[in-house]
Symmetry: C2
């Protein structure tokens, strides 16, 4: 089974306090909650072959927390995961990644509403913006057709930290 | 906010051991896991104004466990929640239920693939059978338009017991 986990960054500092949105860090509470979510995923036996993350600070910090608890040995910044990034770019990457021809488990760390939209497109072929994804929330998809993931995934998990902790 | 929780019955005795599928009881493990899920929902502050359940034994037992842990004071059998039941019948009930004109929280206890299909229709207007709903798994929807729920719900939770426990 090939699985894709889409994970939203944790609670970050207020936008009003940072002139550059890209540099907003996680708050202390955001770090703690993200680490608790990560520990829960680890407890359940989850391992990621790779974590791709939006290059924004709040996403990179989230990805590093996931790696630090032991969920993966590899984190890589991936520009299309920044806000308003393009799913097609990810699909092109996927098709050449080497993860597309074996059982694998990847995590994508990014932002809303993109992660919800990407998930809907991967599962249903288009988005209606109907998924609620809270900060440090997790979406889990099975990729049924590894050669053509769009419209060919199943949804097995959608949760906010509330239900995991 | 008006919320709808769709909950699949717990692990039941093998079909081969019961000539009447409607009478298959929960196994001991099924009862335990269902009770753990129910306790977790209670811990998170969930209360149901009403639990509607499929009349099949494994569903009724699941609903009674939810009530017994304190999630609701009311359980009612509802024939359209039996396998291959009709969502329109539920919508007709809803429209006359009195729950449709206030904030409320209802649980529907039933079977797969119906619960997944109903959820997809409530959220996206049609089903592609893309939701994985395990035994004692939980789906959580916000009903955005109480006068016309079909296609007007958001998905905020989809989980198997694995992630809750």
């Amino acid at each position: 089974m090939t699985q894709l986990y889409l994970i939203r960054h944790g609670i970050a500092a207020e936008a009003a306090d940072y002139s550059d949105d890209q540099k907003r860090p996680l708050t202390e509470k955001g770090r703690q909650k993200t680490e608790q979510v990560a520990q829960k995923l680890l407890q359940k036996g989850i391992q990621f072959d790779l974590i791709l993350t939006s290059p924004l600070v709040r996403a990179v910090s989230t990805a590093v927390i996931l790696m630090d608890v032991g969920l993966s040995k590899k984190v890589q910044e991936f520009a299309p995961l920044a806000p308003e990034g393009n799913l097609e770019t990810w699909v092109n990457w996927w098709n050449q990644s080497g993860y597309n021809n074996k059982d694998s488990s990847l995590a994508l760390v990014g932002h809303q509403p993109d992660l919800g939209n990407w998930s809907e497109v991967l599962v249903w072929g288009k988005t209606q913006e109907k998924l609620i994804v809270k900060k440090a929330g997790v979406i889990g998809l099975n990729i049924l057709d590894k050669t053509a993931p769009i419209g060919n995934c199943e949804l097995f998990l959608l949760t906010s930290p509330k239900w995991l902790l």
